[in-house]
Symmetry: C2
Subunit: 286 residues, 2 copies
């Protein structure tokens, strides 16, 4: 496995292979790789000839009171995982190379970024859209994979690629979960042992919503209430939002038709957890 | 010469040629091609193997009170010029294909866009940055040419490519002028015969500034005063700005060192004219 830190070396590597007809896959990460990343990397391997994984803790997507400084950075462990999973290039740009003096560009998708995570984290999604545009420009992949756990991010990236004609195929990889249903996340290590046990309640809440839809409930507010009730049994958990949305626009749905996404975000102490479920409504006999 | 209207057909054409090692040049235009464009296209021809010229009157870079509706669109004449100059593809996307329903992406370069044209035209440069990012994504050229007449635009595009790692070489082509010095522009046709004669005063004003610099004047405010005086002799002309700036950041310079750009914008009746001169300060014997 090659480790590349230089932006121009990364582009040169990709361009060289593309001239030879090689299909390049790309999985952008912030490192601290867990089983969710591992599954995503394995899925990526099957869809390309050469695979690039980037490890870059992007400062512009963190808010001023967020965990940028203490975000886990187990680099040698991450490299070992990449190597074991058959990654061809581990791309590790520096913050200075990505954001040199004079840097000012900003890519925004105001409609998708407005609600949910965007409301709690005001500049988060323009940070994401900008760094993804940059990484695509440097790595130049044919296909890129994102985790479904960050659902709003994956919807944003799809819209970004469409709107700016970036010409990269986007694949969203299903969330990998612990035995009790908790979505794998690099931030789960922040949970105290007690909160770790409580954390699965978020997934259980989303499941009650999904079950209601499968039972035929179509009223968005009723589905939301069902999910809220499931969390109220866990007083240590504070709800940021629980919503029933259109999977493309992320607008809340008052009446459920075809595919919906159930989005949830909660707090346990100082730790924030997000999760989601994509649900296809049952076919009706007409 | 091929005429392509479909975005995907445009990308496919470029990708096919690039696989064969062809170097693709690109000149984005809004049509209404004049001798300035012609010179730029000829220069482009010499720097690439296959040349794409886009003709697209981009609505998002016009303000609500600007001339979008009446902007000249002599399409068959434009095509004839492209054909004569050896253009390989005339790319003519529709507004609907470029901005389909749900489109929302916005690319901004706030520091470069803040002053001068950006102050008079608040959303102009984010419209330009967004459409250029899109066109580069669709056409995928190795090199792209812009006219120096829109100096701030060319500085913005350079910064855009650098910041978003778009990997396109940017060449800025010198302004082509009428016999009396007036910069060629698609909007010159709006000038009344009297105003057409007056219009050359803007260029003459910039020249007095350049002469002052060549004589050794280094004080930005003095240079600006010299330029202002040259225009005050033409009472029909209203000054929007006349400035002495750093050519990369477009920040005004109070003390002139090495290269500077003199920027000017004036109004004659309802017509707005812009022009600029790049000046290298004289070497001093030390």
């Amino acid at each position: 496995m090659k480790i590349i830190r230089s932006l121009t070396a990364m582009t040169a590597w990709s361009e060289q292979l593309k001239r030879e007809g090689v299909r390049i896959g790309f999985a952008p990460t912030m490192g601290a790789l867990h089983d969710g990343h591992r599954a995503l990397i394995r899925a990526a391997r099957l869809q390309c000839d050469a695979l690039v994984v980037s490890i870059f803790v992007n400062p512009t997507q963190f808010g001023p009171n967020e965990d940028l400084a203490k975000y886990p950075r187990p680099l040698s462990q991450d490299r070992a995982i990449c190597k074991k999973e058959g990654v061809d290039v581990c791309f590790e740009p520096t913050v200075k190379a990505m954001y040199p003096s004079g840097f000012q560009a900003l890519v925004a998708l105001p409609a998708i970024a407005r609600r949910w995570e965007g409301e709690v984290r005001p500049h988060h999604f323009s940070g994401v859209a900008t760094v993804v545009t940059k990484l695509f420009g440097i790595v130049r992949p044919q296909i890129a994979l994102f985790g479904q756990k960050d659902f709003q991010q994956s919807a944003l990236v799809r819209q970004l690629v469409k709107d700016l004609n970036l010409g990269v195929e986007i694949v969203v990889h299903p969330t990998v979960r612990e035995a009790d249903g908790l979505a794998r996340s690099s931030r789960n290590i922040y949970l105290s042992p007690d909160d770790r046990i409580r954390a699965a309640t978020l997934y259980k809440s989303l499941q009650t919503g999904a079950e209601a839809i499968r039972r035929g409930v179509t009223d968005g507010v009723s589905i939301q209430k069902t999910m809220l009730q499931a969390i109220r049994g866990e007083p240590a958990m504070t709800i940021d939002y629980l919503s029933v949305c259109d999977p493309s626009t992320l607008e809340p749905l008052f009446s459920v038709r075809s595919r919906v996404v159930l989005l949830g975000a909660v707090r346990l102490g100082s730790v924030r957890l997000i999760d989601n479920l994509l649900v296809t409504t049952p076919r009706r006999v007409t």
